[in-house]
């Protein structure tokens, strides 16, 4: 009745429409001009869709016939399957039937009001299908596994000549009944079809396929553990309070001192020099720190209230603490501090040389020992030589000054400098 050609020319459409009794001529009595126009425009689309419909119907029909034959010959068991899928099947079929009835109603021009029983049924089935979707998603993994097992069993079964096309049921017995044993499944690499958690044995199956492949386990059957052969090393306990090591605190405070900062500036050429624009008046915004803010607040208060504020005890304390923390006393007079710096260096130098002398000896022997230590690293420290263990640099310096205690003014000055000021004098 309808040509199978793909051309959707208007002549074809007109021919088709005339054959089914619809007139496209506008001068016909029953047809209004707009209606005729609408029909004419939609006609080619209609033809196309009808063609595709017929093609799909023929293909489905052939498939269905095949399935029917298989079911009739009872080679395809349809009982004891996944119940969810059965429900899905039935609901889909019902949906299709109702939908076709609905289309029929529309074609015949009957009203399809909201209360129509077919429509109600459709809505109900739709809801059911929607609700089944997430459940199906959850079961997807297991269903896939089962299908895969069935296919594998299928393949094995085919090669061994047993019945093909088995659908593995939800219970394990279905498998055996159809001639595919668990052993065969295991051999296929699926150790237990009901075991659906990750299975390392499946990996082992893959490996055992090639027994000639090299394994990473030498002497698997020896049973004796042989530890790896590494050269013996000395056990060193992590002792931070060694004789010449400074504690973390001392190191930090030293690094902040002016002396070390100047030395760093002079010798550490890789580091770029940092100078802040604080107080210079340049820059987008005037840099202000806490001290500046405090001073500004005090200034404002004084001008507002017409009274000058004096220094209080806690402010002085805070200032001193801040100076100690920062390491500088604000604006420093370089010449003033030069002397103290030299004295510091002098005492440090003496302390270090004394320590070296004790450690390495004097003269040529010292050189030899130093070189030996550089090459071999530090050896046994609990040697025969008894040496005093100093806490940190301060202690060492004090020890030195006591050692070389003379009554000259110079040494007295050194002792004064190196004495930590915050500790109480005993």
């Amino acid at each position: 009745m309808v040509s199978k050609s793909k051309s959707s020319s208007s002549s074809d459409a007109e021919k088709f429409l005339e054959s089914i009794g619809v007139s496209t001529n506008s001068d016909h009595q029953d047809v209004s001009p707009e209606l005729a126009k609408a029909v004419k425009s939609d006609a080619p689309l209609l033809v196309k869709s009808l063609n595709s419909l017929i093609e799909s119907i023929t293909s489905t029909k052939s498939k269905l016939n095949e399935l029917k034959e298989r079911i009739r010959s009872e080679t395809l068991p349809t009982s004891k399957g996944v119940s969810l899928l059965e429900v899905k099947l039935h609901s889909l079929l019902s949906y299709l039937t109702n939908l076709s009835f609905f289309i029929l109603l529309k074609l015949q021009g009957h009203s399809t009001a909201a209360g129509h029983p077919a429509l109600d049924k459709l809505i109900e089935l739709r809801v059911v299908l929607e609700k089944m979707k997430p459940i199906e998603a959850k079961l997807k993994y297991q269903i896939d596994k089962v299908v895969k097992a069935a296919n594998e069993a299928d393949g094995k079964g085919a090669s061994k000549g047993s019945a093909s096309g088995t659908v593995v049921g939800w219970e394990g017995e279905e498998v055996e009944r159809k001639g595919v044993s668990e052993y065969e499944l295991q051999a296929a690499g699926v150790s237990d079809p009901l075991q659906f958690k990750p299975n390392p044995r499946n990996l082992v199956g893959a490996m055992s396929l090639d027994p000639t492949a090299p394994t990473y386990q030498d002497e698997p059957g020896s049973g004796v553990y042989r530890p790896p052969k590494i050269a013996p090393t000395k056990y060193t306990e992590d002792n931070p309070k060694k004789k010449s090591q400074l504690s973390q605190q001392t190191r930090e405070s030293l690094s902040k001192s002016r002396l070390f900062r100047d030395m760093r500036e002079a010798f550490d050429t890789a580091r770029p020099e940092q100078v802040t624009s604080h107080g210079t008046g340049y820059g987008l915004r005037e840099l202000r720190d806490a001290k500046d803010e405090e001073l500004q607040k005090i200034e404002d208060f004084e001008l507002d209230n017409y009274q000058r504020l004096g220094a209080t005890r806690d402010r002085n304390k805070r200032e001193k603490a801040a100076i100690r923390r920062s390491g500088t006393s604000g604006i420093v007079d370089e010449m003033e501090n030069l002397e103290t710096d030299f004295l510091h260096m002098e005492s440090l130098d003496r302390a270090v040389s004394f320590d070296d002398k004790q450690r390495y000896g004097a003269g040529l022997l010292a050189k030899r020992n130093q070189r030996a230590e550089a090459v071999f690293g530090e050896g046994d420290e609990s040697g025969a030589r008894k040496r005093k263990h100093m806490g940190d640099a301060d202690e060492m310096l004090r020890f030195q000054s006591k050692q070389f205690s003379s009554k000259t003014g110079y040494d007295k000055a050194i002792r004064k400098m190196t004495r930590p000021s915050h500790k109480k004098r005993k």
Partner: protein, 109 residues
């Protein structure tokens, strides 16, 4: 009022001189002008402080604190030395009430 004094090349200005200048500016007498709280800025040349100008000396005497009156020369200083103050107090310890004042002055003499 807040007073900003600019005095380049010389140390900060004395109270007396300031009082004179301010009196001239505001049409008052030096005895009614009280200056206090002057601080020279870092580097010198400028100092900032406060000044109060009263309508009359009587008003000033009523309002101003004692130390400023003393600076001006009007107020009467009490005993300054701490030793004498302590002695006075100890003498007055023996008595109660108005007799304290009598005893303090009597003892001193």
């Amino acid at each position: 009022m807040i007073v900003d004094v600019i005095h380049p090349g010389r140390p900060n200005v004395s109270h007396k001189e300031l009082g004179e200048k301010l009196a001239k500016l505001y049409g008052s007498t030096e005895e009614c002008v009280f200056t206090f709280g002057f601080r020279t800025a870092f580097g010198g040349g400028k100092s900032t402080g406060f000044a109060l100008i009263y309508d009359s000396l009587e008003d000033a005497k009523k309002v101003e604190p004692k130390y400023r009156l003393i600076r001006h020369g009007i107020g009467a200083k009490g005993i300054i030395s701490s030793k004498q103050r302590k002695e006075r107090k100890n003498r007055a310890k023996k008595f109660r009430g108005t007799k304290k004042a009598k005893a303090a002055t009597a003892g001193k003499k």
